[in-house]
Protein backbone atom coordinates (compact mmCIF):
# COMPACT_ATOMS: atom_id res chain seq x y z
CA UNK A 1 0.00 0.00 0.00
CA UNK A 2 2.76 2.43 0.97
CA UNK A 3 4.86 1.71 -2.12
CA UNK A 4 1.84 2.45 -4.28
CA UNK A 5 1.36 5.80 -2.55
CA UNK A 6 5.05 6.55 -2.97
CA UNK A 7 4.87 6.05 -6.72
CA UNK A 8 1.77 8.28 -6.81
CA UNK A 9 3.58 11.03 -4.91
CA UNK A 10 6.64 10.78 -7.13
CA UNK A 11 4.50 10.95 -10.27
CA UNK A 12 2.52 13.98 -9.10
CA UNK A 13 5.24 16.07 -7.43
CA UNK A 14 8.53 16.25 -9.28
CA UNK A 15 11.54 16.29 -7.00
CA UNK A 16 9.67 14.92 -4.02
CA UNK A 17 12.04 11.95 -3.85
CA UNK A 18 9.51 9.96 -1.87
CA UNK A 19 11.03 6.87 -0.35
CA UNK A 20 9.27 4.03 1.39
CA UNK A 21 10.89 2.73 4.55
CA UNK A 22 9.38 -0.60 5.51
CA UNK A 23 9.02 -1.37 9.19
CA UNK A 24 10.79 -4.30 10.80
CA UNK A 25 8.92 -7.21 12.24
CA UNK A 26 6.65 -4.91 14.20
CA UNK A 27 5.73 -1.30 13.84
CA UNK A 28 4.49 0.99 11.11
CA UNK A 29 5.81 1.87 7.65
CA UNK A 30 6.96 5.40 6.96
CA UNK A 31 7.41 7.54 3.86
CA UNK A 32 10.29 10.00 3.58
CA UNK A 33 10.04 12.97 1.23
CA UNK A 34 12.31 15.86 0.36
CA UNK A 35 11.83 18.78 2.79
CA UNK A 36 11.67 21.41 0.02
CA UNK A 37 8.60 19.81 -1.50
CA UNK A 38 6.63 19.14 1.69
CA UNK A 39 3.92 21.70 0.91
CA UNK A 40 3.34 20.32 -2.58
CA UNK A 41 3.26 16.76 -1.31
CA UNK A 42 0.75 17.69 1.39
CA UNK A 43 -1.43 19.53 -1.10
CA UNK A 44 -1.36 16.48 -3.34
CA UNK A 45 -2.14 14.05 -0.52
CA UNK A 46 -5.00 16.25 0.66
CA UNK A 47 -6.84 16.13 -2.63
CA UNK A 48 -5.54 13.06 -4.52
CA UNK A 49 -8.10 10.60 -5.77
CA UNK A 50 -8.24 7.49 -3.61
CA UNK A 51 -6.13 8.99 -0.83
CA UNK A 52 -7.77 12.19 0.44
CA UNK A 53 -5.87 12.63 3.67
CA UNK A 54 -8.30 15.16 5.04
CA UNK A 55 -7.16 15.17 8.67
CA UNK A 56 -3.77 16.15 10.01
CA UNK A 57 -3.21 14.30 13.25
CA UNK A 58 0.25 15.29 14.45
CA UNK A 59 3.26 17.31 13.48
CA UNK A 60 6.16 16.36 15.67
CA UNK A 61 9.91 16.40 15.64
CA UNK A 62 12.49 13.96 16.83
CA UNK A 63 16.06 15.02 17.50
CA UNK A 64 19.02 12.94 16.31
CA UNK A 65 22.74 13.68 16.34
CA UNK A 66 22.97 15.33 12.94
CA UNK A 67 19.38 15.88 11.92
CA UNK A 68 15.84 16.52 13.06
CA UNK A 69 13.14 14.29 11.68
CA UNK A 70 9.76 15.96 11.42
CA UNK A 71 6.82 13.55 11.23
CA UNK A 72 3.50 14.48 9.70
CA UNK A 73 0.93 11.90 10.67
CA UNK A 74 -2.01 12.11 8.31
CA UNK A 75 -5.30 10.29 8.39
CA UNK A 76 -8.09 9.96 5.92
CA UNK A 77 -11.52 9.80 7.51
CA UNK A 78 -13.02 9.24 4.07
CA UNK A 79 -10.98 6.21 3.00
CA UNK A 80 -9.89 5.17 6.50
CA UNK A 81 -6.14 5.40 5.84
CA UNK A 82 -3.19 6.41 7.95
CA UNK A 83 0.26 7.62 6.85
CA UNK A 84 3.42 8.64 8.66
CA UNK A 85 5.10 11.16 6.39
CA UNK A 86 8.60 12.19 7.42
CA UNK A 87 11.23 14.67 6.36
CA UNK A 88 14.88 14.82 7.37
CA UNK A 89 16.16 18.27 8.23
CA UNK A 90 19.94 18.42 8.55
CA UNK A 91 21.16 20.27 11.62
CA UNK A 92 24.28 22.35 11.04
CA UNK A 93 25.29 22.81 14.66
CA UNK A 94 24.01 22.03 18.13
CA UNK A 95 21.66 24.99 18.48
CA UNK A 96 20.81 25.43 14.81
CA UNK A 97 17.12 25.83 13.96
CA UNK A 98 16.34 24.18 10.62
CA UNK A 99 13.60 25.64 8.46
CA UNK A 100 10.72 24.08 6.60
CA UNK A 101 7.63 25.31 4.80
CA UNK A 102 4.47 25.54 6.88
CA UNK A 103 1.44 23.48 5.86
CA UNK A 104 -1.11 25.75 7.54
CA UNK A 105 -2.65 26.52 4.16
CA UNK A 106 -3.62 22.87 3.73
CA UNK A 107 -4.88 21.99 7.20
CA UNK A 108 -5.74 24.59 9.82
CA UNK A 109 -4.83 22.03 12.48
CA UNK A 110 -1.20 22.61 11.52
CA UNK A 111 -1.27 25.98 13.26
CA UNK A 112 -1.09 24.69 16.83
CA UNK A 113 0.84 21.55 15.94
CA UNK A 114 3.60 23.56 14.25
CA UNK A 115 3.73 25.98 17.14
CA UNK A 116 4.22 23.09 19.54
CA UNK A 117 6.89 21.56 17.31
CA UNK A 118 8.68 24.92 17.13
CA UNK A 119 8.45 25.29 20.89
CA UNK A 120 9.69 21.83 21.74
CA UNK A 121 12.21 20.89 19.04
CA UNK A 122 13.11 24.22 17.50
CA UNK A 123 12.01 23.80 13.90
CA UNK A 124 11.11 27.06 12.20
CA UNK A 125 8.06 26.89 9.96
CA UNK A 126 8.21 29.47 7.20
CA UNK A 127 5.02 31.40 6.34
CA UNK A 128 3.33 30.34 9.55
CA UNK A 129 0.69 32.94 10.54
CA UNK A 130 1.62 33.15 14.22
CA UNK A 131 4.82 31.32 15.13
CA UNK A 132 5.21 31.77 18.88
CA UNK A 133 6.00 29.41 21.70
CA UNK A 134 2.93 27.52 22.83
CA UNK A 135 3.55 25.47 25.96
CA UNK A 136 6.64 27.22 27.32
CA UNK A 137 6.71 30.92 28.25
CA UNK A 138 7.66 33.32 25.47
CA UNK A 139 11.05 34.13 26.99
CA UNK A 140 12.15 30.54 27.49
CA UNK A 141 15.55 29.57 26.16
CA UNK A 142 16.45 26.43 24.32
CA UNK A 143 14.44 23.60 22.78
CA UNK A 144 13.33 21.22 25.56
CA UNK A 145 12.80 18.05 23.57
CA UNK A 146 16.26 18.03 22.00
CA UNK A 147 18.51 15.36 23.37
CA UNK A 148 21.28 17.78 24.39
CA UNK A 149 18.95 20.24 26.10
CA UNK A 150 20.22 21.92 29.26
CA UNK A 151 17.85 23.77 31.55
CA UNK A 152 18.75 27.43 31.78
CA UNK A 153 20.50 28.52 34.99
CA UNK A 154 18.19 31.41 35.74
CA UNK A 155 14.66 32.20 34.67
CA UNK A 156 12.91 35.53 35.34
CA UNK A 157 15.32 36.37 38.13
CA UNK A 158 14.86 33.02 39.85
CA UNK A 159 17.55 30.43 40.19
CA UNK A 160 16.65 27.06 38.66
CA UNK A 161 17.43 24.16 41.02
CA UNK A 162 18.78 26.23 43.90
CA UNK A 163 21.33 24.20 45.86
CA UNK A 164 19.73 24.75 49.24
CA UNK A 165 16.45 23.24 48.10
CA UNK A 166 17.88 19.93 47.04
CA UNK A 167 17.55 17.05 49.46
CA UNK A 168 21.25 16.41 49.90
CA UNK A 169 21.22 14.73 53.31
CA UNK A 170 19.54 11.59 52.05
CA UNK A 171 21.12 11.52 48.63
CA UNK A 172 24.68 11.69 49.93
CA UNK A 173 24.12 9.48 52.95
CA UNK A 174 25.49 6.45 51.13
CA UNK A 175 28.55 8.32 49.86
CA UNK A 176 29.26 9.67 53.33
CA UNK A 177 28.96 6.20 54.80
CA UNK A 178 31.32 4.84 52.20
CA UNK A 179 33.98 7.48 52.68
CA UNK A 180 33.99 7.21 56.47
CA UNK A 181 34.01 3.41 56.67
CA UNK A 182 37.04 1.19 57.14
CA UNK A 183 36.15 -1.09 54.22
CA UNK A 184 34.42 0.95 51.51
CA UNK A 185 33.95 -2.06 49.24
CA UNK A 186 31.27 -3.44 51.50
CA UNK A 187 29.00 -0.46 51.03
CA UNK A 188 26.43 0.09 48.35
CA UNK A 189 23.66 2.61 47.85
CA UNK A 190 20.83 3.08 45.45
CA UNK A 191 21.15 6.73 44.56
CA UNK A 192 23.27 8.24 41.81
CA UNK A 193 23.80 11.94 41.40
CA UNK A 194 21.86 13.18 38.37
CA UNK A 195 23.70 15.28 35.81
CA UNK A 196 21.47 18.29 36.17
CA UNK A 197 22.36 18.90 39.80
CA UNK A 198 24.36 22.10 40.29
CA UNK A 199 27.90 22.17 41.56
CA UNK A 200 26.91 23.70 44.89
CA UNK A 201 24.88 20.67 45.99
CA UNK A 202 27.41 19.25 48.40
CA UNK A 203 26.72 16.69 51.11
CA UNK A 204 25.38 18.38 54.19
CA UNK A 205 26.28 17.24 57.67
CA UNK A 206 22.78 17.18 59.12
CA UNK A 207 21.10 13.82 59.38
CA UNK A 208 17.75 12.94 57.94
CA UNK A 209 14.68 14.15 59.70
CA UNK A 210 12.12 11.66 60.80
CA UNK A 211 8.51 11.52 59.80
CA UNK A 212 5.91 12.47 62.42
Amino acid sequence: MHSEWVSKINAAVSGANAEHVAAGEFGDDTVFVAPEKILDVCKFLYSAEGLEFNVLQVITGCDYQDRIEVSYILASFINNLELILKVKLPKASKDATPEIESVCSVWKAANFQERECYDMVGVIFKNHPDLRRLLCPQDWEGWPLRKDYQVQKEYAGMEVYPAHKINTADIYFGEKLKSSAADPKKFSYSWKKPEFYPEGAQPTTETTTEGE
Binding site: D170, Y189, S190
Partner: protein, 175 residues
Protein backbone atom coordinates in the same frame (compact mmCIF):
# COMPACT_ATOMS: atom_id res chain seq x y z
CA UNK B 1 -36.95 25.44 18.47
CA UNK B 2 -36.37 28.41 16.20
CA UNK B 3 -33.12 30.23 16.01
CA UNK B 4 -34.46 33.45 17.48
CA UNK B 5 -34.68 33.65 21.25
CA UNK B 6 -37.73 35.93 21.26
CA UNK B 7 -40.62 33.56 21.80
CA UNK B 8 -39.57 32.22 25.18
CA UNK B 9 -41.77 34.58 27.17
CA UNK B 10 -45.13 34.96 25.53
CA UNK B 11 -48.12 35.26 27.81
CA UNK B 12 -51.61 34.39 26.83
CA UNK B 13 -54.21 36.95 27.77
CA UNK B 14 -56.98 35.29 29.75
CA UNK B 15 -59.95 36.60 31.59
CA UNK B 16 -59.93 35.82 35.31
CA UNK B 17 -63.22 34.32 36.46
CA UNK B 18 -64.22 33.45 40.01
CA UNK B 19 -63.82 29.74 39.35
CA UNK B 20 -60.37 30.26 37.97
CA UNK B 21 -59.45 32.38 40.96
CA UNK B 22 -60.45 29.61 43.33
CA UNK B 23 -58.66 27.06 41.16
CA UNK B 24 -55.49 29.15 41.27
CA UNK B 25 -55.61 29.30 45.07
CA UNK B 26 -56.12 25.54 45.31
CA UNK B 27 -53.33 24.90 42.85
CA UNK B 28 -50.94 27.20 44.69
CA UNK B 29 -51.60 25.50 48.00
CA UNK B 30 -51.52 21.95 46.71
CA UNK B 31 -48.26 22.36 44.80
CA UNK B 32 -46.67 24.02 47.83
CA UNK B 33 -47.73 21.03 49.95
CA UNK B 34 -46.43 18.64 47.34
CA UNK B 35 -43.08 20.40 47.30
CA UNK B 36 -42.87 20.43 51.09
CA UNK B 37 -43.70 16.73 51.06
CA UNK B 38 -40.70 16.01 48.85
CA UNK B 39 -38.51 18.17 51.09
CA UNK B 40 -39.58 16.35 54.24
CA UNK B 41 -39.15 13.03 52.52
CA UNK B 42 -35.53 13.90 51.93
CA UNK B 43 -35.09 15.27 55.45
CA UNK B 44 -36.29 12.11 57.19
CA UNK B 45 -36.76 9.32 54.72
CA UNK B 46 -33.73 9.17 52.45
CA UNK B 47 -30.37 7.84 53.56
CA UNK B 48 -27.65 10.46 53.13
CA UNK B 49 -24.90 9.69 50.60
CA UNK B 50 -22.28 11.81 52.32
CA UNK B 51 -20.49 10.97 55.57
CA UNK B 52 -19.54 13.35 58.38
CA UNK B 53 -15.84 13.03 57.83
CA UNK B 54 -13.76 13.60 60.96
CA UNK B 55 -16.17 11.61 63.12
CA UNK B 56 -17.11 8.97 60.58
CA UNK B 57 -14.37 7.49 58.44
CA UNK B 58 -14.90 5.51 55.32
CA UNK B 59 -13.61 1.98 55.32
CA UNK B 60 -11.09 1.86 52.52
CA UNK B 61 -10.49 -1.30 50.48
CA UNK B 62 -7.63 -3.43 51.79
CA UNK B 63 -5.45 -2.85 48.72
CA UNK B 64 -5.77 0.95 48.73
CA UNK B 65 -2.48 2.59 47.89
CA UNK B 66 -1.63 5.22 50.47
CA UNK B 67 1.32 5.94 52.76
CA UNK B 68 4.18 3.50 52.26
CA UNK B 69 5.55 1.45 55.11
CA UNK B 70 8.70 -0.63 55.13
CA UNK B 71 9.21 -3.31 57.71
CA UNK B 72 13.00 -2.95 57.91
CA UNK B 73 13.46 -6.20 59.82
CA UNK B 74 12.39 -8.11 56.71
CA UNK B 75 14.17 -5.97 54.14
CA UNK B 76 17.02 -7.70 52.31
CA UNK B 77 18.29 -4.46 50.65
CA UNK B 78 17.84 -5.72 47.11
CA UNK B 79 17.31 -2.19 45.65
CA UNK B 80 14.51 -3.43 43.43
CA UNK B 81 12.05 -0.86 44.77
CA UNK B 82 14.52 1.98 44.19
CA UNK B 83 15.08 0.77 40.61
CA UNK B 84 11.39 0.44 39.87
CA UNK B 85 10.47 3.85 41.27
CA UNK B 86 9.67 6.25 38.41
CA UNK B 87 10.35 9.36 40.52
CA UNK B 88 13.48 8.12 42.37
CA UNK B 89 12.20 8.87 45.84
CA UNK B 90 13.61 5.84 47.67
CA UNK B 91 17.09 6.15 49.17
CA UNK B 92 18.77 2.99 50.41
CA UNK B 93 22.29 2.48 51.75
CA UNK B 94 23.51 -0.90 52.93
CA UNK B 95 26.67 -2.67 54.06
CA UNK B 96 27.61 -6.26 53.33
CA UNK B 97 27.56 -8.46 56.43
CA UNK B 98 30.66 -10.18 57.65
CA UNK B 99 30.90 -13.86 56.87
CA UNK B 100 31.38 -14.85 60.49
CA UNK B 101 28.48 -12.74 61.75
CA UNK B 102 25.44 -14.64 63.06
CA UNK B 103 23.07 -15.44 60.14
CA UNK B 104 19.89 -13.37 59.92
CA UNK B 105 16.67 -14.42 58.27
CA UNK B 106 13.46 -12.70 57.28
CA UNK B 107 10.06 -13.93 58.42
CA UNK B 108 9.72 -15.65 55.06
CA UNK B 109 12.99 -17.52 55.54
CA UNK B 110 15.21 -15.58 53.14
CA UNK B 111 18.78 -14.95 54.28
CA UNK B 112 19.71 -11.31 54.92
CA UNK B 113 23.15 -10.69 53.49
CA UNK B 114 23.27 -6.92 53.80
CA UNK B 115 22.94 -4.68 56.81
CA UNK B 116 20.53 -1.85 56.10
CA UNK B 117 21.85 1.54 57.16
CA UNK B 118 19.38 3.86 55.57
CA UNK B 119 15.91 3.40 54.21
CA UNK B 120 14.31 6.74 53.48
CA UNK B 121 11.32 7.54 51.32
CA UNK B 122 10.58 11.10 50.36
CA UNK B 123 6.80 10.89 50.56
CA UNK B 124 6.45 14.37 49.11
CA UNK B 125 7.85 13.00 45.84
CA UNK B 126 6.04 9.67 45.92
CA UNK B 127 3.36 9.30 43.25
CA UNK B 128 1.64 6.26 44.81
CA UNK B 129 1.90 4.22 41.64
CA UNK B 130 2.51 0.96 43.49
CA UNK B 131 5.39 -0.22 41.30
CA UNK B 132 7.78 -0.57 44.26
CA UNK B 133 5.50 -2.81 46.28
CA UNK B 134 4.89 -5.23 43.43
CA UNK B 135 8.59 -5.92 42.86
CA UNK B 136 9.44 -6.40 46.55
CA UNK B 137 10.57 -10.04 46.98
CA UNK B 138 9.97 -10.29 50.73
CA UNK B 139 6.81 -8.13 50.69
CA UNK B 140 8.16 -5.94 53.45
CA UNK B 141 7.36 -2.73 51.57
CA UNK B 142 3.61 -2.20 51.58
CA UNK B 143 1.07 0.50 51.01
CA UNK B 144 -1.00 1.15 54.09
CA UNK B 145 -4.52 2.50 54.10
CA UNK B 146 -3.50 5.56 56.11
CA UNK B 147 -4.21 8.70 54.15
CA UNK B 148 -3.96 11.46 56.76
CA UNK B 149 -0.35 12.55 56.91
CA UNK B 150 -0.27 16.24 56.16
CA UNK B 151 2.68 18.04 57.67
CA UNK B 152 3.97 21.58 57.99
CA UNK B 153 7.36 21.27 56.30
CA UNK B 154 8.74 19.27 53.44
CA UNK B 155 11.36 17.75 55.71
CA UNK B 156 8.65 16.09 57.75
CA UNK B 157 7.52 14.25 54.64
CA UNK B 158 10.79 12.32 54.55
CA UNK B 159 10.33 9.08 56.39
CA UNK B 160 13.35 7.32 57.77
CA UNK B 161 12.09 3.83 58.41
CA UNK B 162 15.07 2.90 60.59
CA UNK B 163 13.83 5.05 63.45
CA UNK B 164 11.67 3.55 66.20
CA UNK B 165 9.15 6.40 65.93
CA UNK B 166 7.95 5.08 62.63
CA UNK B 167 7.46 1.64 64.02
CA UNK B 168 5.28 3.15 66.68
CA UNK B 169 3.33 5.06 64.08
CA UNK B 170 2.65 1.84 62.26
CA UNK B 171 1.45 0.10 65.40
CA UNK B 172 -0.77 2.99 66.34
CA UNK B 173 -2.57 3.63 63.07
CA UNK B 174 -2.50 0.51 60.97
CA UNK B 175 -3.98 -2.54 62.55
Amino acid sequence: MEATPTNHTQYREEKLTFGKWLWNIWKGMSTALKGMGITFKYVYGVKPVTIEYPEVREELPANSRHRLYNDVQNCISCYQCATACPVDCIYIAAERRDKDAPPLKTDGGQAIKLDLHQYTIDTALCCYCGLCTTVCPTECLTHTTDYEFASYTLDQMKYDYMTPELKQWRDRIVK
